[in-house]
């Protein structure tokens, strides 16, 4: 059983097995940052459930400025120093956990940077008996260098501090984190530590030695069983994580028993900040699906947007775009429900696959979308839009096709109109890519040399390009026939656009200039996608400065602004019809 909670500025989930009484020992799960948090989100949910089943009530949280938590103030002087904010929020959450669970002692379990926070938080408290550190970041300095280098390779980010994905660290934050070194953390002698190490590096060995020298009991464990937590598997169903080594360690080292006091009542989670109010929603069959409803604080339109997962990232999105877009919409008087599709994030998978991360394209998301529309209609929203990025755009499109209640579609970098079982992203892109774009891609990053050295899969490329040429010739003739009225729309893409137009659905296709999906648009709708204009209500826009996944903060702001404007122009009324919240 897991209940959403708000603790200070954090959003979190409280896992229990539904019993009346609390427990002597409770566990706090501390996620990592950016990609580490995205990849491990579902695994940490399952770990929370497993710990709760073993008798350890467990809280997992999003720190301020991450996940679904509140935003830290921006553009203030001095800027927010995230390390201290996070440590303070973790400390507050630990107090909350002890209080609600009736626990006397705590175990902190952290992944990557979350492990670093957990260890430092443990140093400052007297009630922490155990620490489970999963692939911990041992030195802040090398971690900051990693993120700075990733930022530089991604968008040449050369700013003071660090601007990477959702993180915006001041120079002071970078300095403070760079000084953190787990070897210097003075854990209590009574502490029990399990180190699940990916790489037995020199700092890891030093750390184990330093803590043992202080009298701390340190168990060294491998990371192989936990490795799927950090695996960025893009397309197929994910392998479940084996938590037994971690569960065995905690049961053996820090056994628990029921507390004498019952659980304290947990208040429903509601988060607010100027401009928006958010509350978690369970919906769908047996309430297996999860979404975060974000409503304007003031007057609202009767429009609500369903924001689906991008790829297999959880509902808050890569670089937290799901959250920033939802709060941007709310500021314009538009509500949203950012959801996890079945088997992703905080939504339980279909029967028999409850512990499996569902496949990116090959899962049918239309029932989940219809269930989300039910939620919004029950709350009085008359017009529903679906939004998605990349694979999310594909599912939004199909949700719009399947459910006649959809009024608008906001599709960012739609990769394909149709997905066939067995397709791969790579093959689909090669199949739709024009020879000019293919060659221009090939001239990037020395791929020409690879081609000459025979290191590219020529057979696959040739097959895909041959398919593309045949399709292109066929589609050109079909388009001509359709324009002259000799035939109705034949291709799935054009049938779809015609059907959406006939229903009055407003469709916004937003692309980055170099996106592979544009080739598919040209293939279906002619040069520069000019044929899109024949479909009433459809708009194609190629926006300079965007990239496929909206890596930069400015890109995300531009995309959010364009989509909001599209909605208010096409669905909004001039006068906002009062507060629906």
């Amino acid at each position: 059983m897991m209940r959403p909670v708000a603790v200070g500025d954090c959003f979190g989930w409280f896992h229990t097995r539904g019993e009346q009484h609390g427990s002597e020992i409770a566990v706090m799960l501390c996620p990592g940052l950016t990609r580490d948090a995205l990849d491990a989100h579902q695994s940490l949910r399952l770990l929370g459930n497993a710990l709760a089943s073993a008798g350890y009530p467990t809280l997992r949280i999003d720190y301020p400025d991450t996940g679904d938590a509140r935003d830290c103030p921006v553009d203030i002087a001095p800027p927010v120093e995230h390390w201290s904010v996070w440590l303070q929020s973790l400390d507050q959450a630990l107090d909350w956990l002890r209080d609600v669970a009736g626990a006397r002692h705590l175990v902190l379990c952290g992944l990557r940077f979350g492990a670093t926070l957990a260890a430092v938080a443990a140093e400052q408290r007297d009630d922490v008996l155990g620490l489970a550190l999963l692939a911990p970041v041992l030195r802040g300095q090398s971690y900051m260098r990693q993120l700075q280098l990733e930022a530089r390779l991604q968008h040449g980010g050369d700013v003071e501090g660090l601007a990477f994905q959702e993180l915006r660290f001041s120079g002071q934050t970078v300095d403070v984190i760079s000084r953190i070194d787990l070897r210097d953390v003075a854990l209590k002698r009574t502490s029990h530590v399990a180190m699940f190490l990916q790489n037995p590096s020199k700092p890891a060995r030093d750390c184990v030695e330093a803590w043992r020298a202080r009298g701390v009991e340190v168990t060294e464990c491998g990371f192989a069983e936990l490795a799927p937590m950090l695996r960025h598997n893009q397309e197929t169903e994910g392998a479940p994580v084996e938590f037994a080594p971690l569960l065995n360690w905690i049961r053996r080292t820090i056994p628990t028993q029921p507390a004498r006091v019952p659980f304290r009542r947990v208040l429903p989670a509601v988060l607010t900040q100027p401009g928006w109010v958010e509350q978690p929603v369970r919906f769908g069959p047996d309430d297996r699906l999860f979404g975060m409803l974000c409503q304007p604080e003031g007057p609202a339109h009767d429009i609500a947007v369903i924001i689906g997962n991008t790829g297999r990232d959880p509902h808050y999105g890569y670089a937290r775009f799901g959250v920033s877009f939802a709060r941007h919409l709310a500021a314009s008087g538009i509500a949203s429900l950012r959801i996890d599709f079945s088997g992703l994030g905080d939504s339980v998978g279909v029967a028999g696959k409850e512990h499996v991360l569902s496949a990116m394209f090959e899962s049918d998301r239309t029932p989940d979308i219809s269930a989300a529309i039910d939620v919004l209609q029950a709350r009085g929203y008359g017009q529903v839009a679906l939004q998605g990025l990349c694979a999310g755009a594909y599912h939004a499109l199909h949700g719009g096709i399947a459910d006649p209640r959809v009024s608008a579609l906001l599709l960012v970098n739609l990769p394909v109109f149709q997905w066939h079982v067995g397709d791969t992203v790579d093959f689909v892109y090669r199949k739709t890519m024009t020879p000019i774009r293919y060659m221009s891609k090939a001239s990037d990053k020395d791929a020409w040399q690879r081609l000459l050295r025979g290191e590219l899969d020529i057979a696959n490329i040739a097959r895909a390009q041959r398919d593309r040429t045949m399709t292109r010739i066929r589609e050109r003739w079909l388009r001509l026939a359709e324009q002259r009225g000799w035939a109705g729309p034949r291709s799935f893409a054009r049938q779809t656009m015609a059907s959406l137009a006939a229903r009055g659905v407003k469709t916004f296709l937003l692309f980055s200039p170099d996106d592979n999906g544009l080739d598919m648009i040209e293939q279906e709708f002619g040069k520069s996608g000019a044929g899109i204009r024949h479909y009433t209500g459809a708009t194609l826009r190629v926006e300079p400065g965007l990239d496929h996944i909206l890596n930069g903060r400015e890109m995300r702001h531009v995309a959010a602004t364009l989509m909001t404007k599209f909605l208010t122009v096409n669905l909004g009324s001039a006068d906002v019809p009062g507060d629906l919240a």
Partner: protein, 81 residues
């Protein structure tokens, strides 16, 4: 172990963790052709900071991103000198 040996060992470790298939490593192999992506390269630099105590990208100069495996090794060997 020499700086070179540690770098080559760490490349193997990072590639294995990230499930990347490495090309046979040689000095003139372009990093972009090695099988490593940008995340791997960033993790590699963090690991080398941990193992060698060297952070050539943190010198404050605008250090160019190394192009080949040989460039990467030279960068660290020079930082050690």
């Amino acid at each position: 172990m020499s700086v070179r040996a540690i770098i080559l060992q760490q490349i193997d470790i990072v590639a294995a963790q990230q499930h990347k298939i490495l090309k046979p490593l040689s000095d003139d192999l372009h990093l972009i052709d090695s099988g490593l992506d940008s995340l791997c390269l960033a993790i590699l630099v963090a690991n080398l900071d941990d193992e060698l105590g060297l952070d050539p990208f943190g010198t404050g100069d605008d250090v160019p991103i190394p192009v080949t495996v040989g460039d990467l090794i030279t960068l660290y060997e020079n930082a050690e000198a």
